[in-house]
Symmetry: C2
Amino acid sequence: MAVKTKGQGGISGATIDRLPLYFRTLRLVQDEGRDIISSDELGRRLGITPEQIRKDLASFGQFGKKGVGYYVNELKHNVGNILGLDNHWNIAVVGIGHLGAALANYQNFVALGFNLVALFDQDPHVIGTVVNHVKVEDSRRIREIVRQRKIHIGIIAVPAAFAQGVADELVEAGVQGIWNFAPIKMQVPETMHIVNEDLSIGLSSLSYYLTRT
Amino acid sequence: MAVKTKGQGGISGATIDRLPLYFRTLRLVQDEGRDIISSDELGRRLGITPEQIRKDLASFGQFGKKGVGYYVNELKHNVGNILGLDNHWNIAVVGIGHLGAALANYQNFVALGFNLVALFDQDPHVIGTVVNHVKVEDSRRIREIVRQRKIHIGIIAVPAAFAQGVADELVEAGVQGIWNFAPIKMQVPETMHIVNEDLSIGLSSLSYYLTRT
DNA sequence: TAGATTGTTAATCGATTAACAATC
DNA sequence: TAGATTGTTAATCGATTAACAATC
């Protein structure tokens, strides 16, 4: 679970976290050849109330037509634009263990417009191998390559003990955001955007609910 | 990011999602040989206010000593108990692609007391291989093996197109909870506990914030 | 036109923060 | 005792739900 995506600029963090769901569903609906969709149907497909969806969208503008619904292509374009997906951010994964390799191969990122441009690891057996068409580089070259390849987002998939060090290097190299899978709270400058993905939370909370059934 | 862990039984879902963080930090503090910790220090280590922590804990009982703090061992035991970790749930991963293999190898689950007891895949090249000391079985045997090995939680790491089918089988086989990594909203009976882990949300929301810096 | 559906305001609900009495 | 720190109540803030006018 991604932790603490706090709101900013007046828009609720909860709203922002729902936008990717809208985007994905709109893509599916588009593939089905549909031109128009109502907040009602979108809601039914996602398990979200239509009022919630209308409110979320309305906080960014008027994208629908009263009495009609939303034009699928147009809305998808707008939501993608709001999410900044057309920036086509360059991303790099640091730590090509099982999880890092899984992330490097994750096809849904391509669908969102992200470009995987670098992979890093410090294990000599892993350096030089190719994962999803990208060669794994030595972690010591993070600073150099992040600048060269204009990497915007660093994904941290190293063991907890190394995560802070990697974060420091990524920050110094000038990435704008970090997506962190290591189970630690990292120290980064105020201006750095960081999203923590904590896999323990989902499973533990499931345990909580199971215990109380 | 884990989606929609709604509160239940009067306890806020946000509170429950913080408990695993407390648990993990207490384990670390315990390893450091510390006997006592204050809400203030716990807060500093996690980036959470001490008031929030005290409130979270207080909703389950009085675990601290005024003027002193919390006894680390005792609190860790209590938080683990609240989360139901001492149930030592049996878990199975369905879909041993990159992500499924990463989850099967995820060491943090062991630290939380979960037992990995089965792996499933439908690819004949994958069936029979061993991942993290567990043999991969044919997905067609889900129902049989879930019962045999008394699996409580099913983890879905198959492509979106197969996820609903897998969920149906897991439900029929009698699992109590599902941890779903496929990017779809699944239809399951009301009584089934399901936590959706949606990796697109974290990265997309990061894109949103980066766009507005 | 009548029916459908959005966008927006008001009401409710829930979660966090602040304050402080209790007490170790 | 004096200082520290919890547990709890009250105040604030934020997010969701309900209602409905606008309008296609």
